[in-house]
């Protein structure tokens, strides 16, 4: 009985992990589609639109600045826009363009870009 319960527990944990697993490859595609126009091909904040903007887009390669942001901060900024995290309104809300799962993939990719380059 104990073995059975252990297997059930393991399977549940596996299912939960799978459900919330992020796909950085998908995050990269989403980043290229929606983010690079302002944040730049390399994520340094100098996208093709940046030159004409009043507020420079965030440099996602700035490790020191980015480690102060939690994954939740980044998720909210993408989903609800910069204003929702007390940043620029020029960062729009992407809630109609991406699902929560896709935004999680994007957060994972931004995290990879800013802070886990050596991995």
């Amino acid at each position: 009985m104990k073995t059975f319960s252990f297997i059930v527990l393991l399977s549940t944990l596996f299912a939960i992990t799978e459900a919330y697993a992020t796909d950085t490859k998908n995050g990269e595609i989403l980043y290229q589609a929606y983010c690079t126009q302002c944040h730049g091909l390399n994520g340094d904040g100098w996208g093709v639109n940046a030159a004409s903007m009043d507020v420079l887009p965030k440099d996602h390669t700035d490790t020191k600045g980015m480690v102060t942001r939690t994954d939740e901060d980044i998720f909210i900024a993408i989903k609800k826009g910069g204003k929702a995290v007390s940043k620029s309104n020029l960062m729009p809300n992407w809630d109609a363009n991406m699902t929560d799962q896709e935004i999680n993939d994007l957060v994972a990719y931004v995290r990879l870009l800013c802070c886990e380059k050596e991995k």
Binding site: I29, L30, Q32, A33, Y34, T36, Q37, C38, G40, L41, N42, W46, G47, V48, N49, A50, A51, S52, M53, D54, G81, N89, L90, P92, N93, W94, D95, A96, N97
Partner: protein, 230 residues
């Protein structure tokens, strides 16, 4: 009375003559569309398009061209096209990374083909028949008006952030989206309002965000486009 009947008969006769002519023109337009446009444009239902399919598109969908364009503008533009999207349909593969930031590599931009005026008329007649989203258009009731240009510009750029991707004057503004200083002559006002209200209902994988604007905010933006219209 006799004169009235004669006029009526004449008008009816002319109408009967016009219908086959129109239908013939749109049939010719369909042929021309197949021959000249399908290498880059699609006219099929885009409801289930995936992001990777969307990013591989060479040119905008013409699925709802009749809901979108002003016919007179389209006919004229097809015969003498001018670039509408400074970064092309999708900017990414035209970007070059430089010390001054990312720039559009203009050598990678492709010019739109030009057709003869008669062909432009026929293609336009065919494209204007493509109206699958009339229900979305029917929800809008735009009457073009005016707005203070300075306040409108501030609203467009600072408050709504449209200028990050779109130009409201030649050379001023973002380059990843289509320019908007000719939007009013190019696009139907109700289409503009509807696309601002819910871009994803027109293009499920659009690169434009839905800013959840109310009627008044949409009206202000449309009126600003009217004021700056070229």
């Amino acid at each position: 009375m006799k004169n009235h009947m004669l006029t009526l008969k004449l008008v009816l006769g002319l109408m009967l003559l016009q219908v086959p002519e129109l239908s013939h023109a749109s049939e010719q337009g369909q042929k021309l569309y197949q021959e000249k446009c399908t290498a880059c444009h699609s006219i099929s239902d885009n409801s289930n398009i995936s992001l990777s399919q969307r990013l591989q598109e060479k040119a905008p969908t013409l699925y709802y061209a009749g809901n979108k364009f002003n016919a007179a503008w389209l006919e004229q533009w097809l015969a003498a096209p001018k670039r509408l999207r400074p970064g092309g349909h999708f900017f990414l593969n035209k970007v070059k990374v430089t010390d001054d930031g990312d720039l559009i590599d203009e050598t990678k931009l492709v010019n739109h083909m030009t057709v003869q005026p008669k062909e432009a008329k026929q293609i336009t007649q065919y494209l204007m028949l493509q109206t699958p989203k009339a229900d979305l258009i029917a929800l809008e009731q735009v009457t073009l008006g005016k707005v203070n240009r300075t306040l409108g510009e501030k609203d467009f750029n600072k408050f709504k952030g449209c200028g990050s991707c779109h130009q409201d004057e030649d050379g001023y503004g973002g380059v990843s989206g289509p320019e908007l200083y000719t939007a009013i002559s190019r696009l139907k006002p109700n289409f503009i309002a509807s696309y601002i209200r819910h871009p994803e209902k027109w293009d499920p994988k659009t690169l434009m965000p839905n800013r959840h604007l109310n009627d008044n905010s949409i009206k202000k933006l449309v009126n600003y486009l009217n004021v700056i219209s070229e």
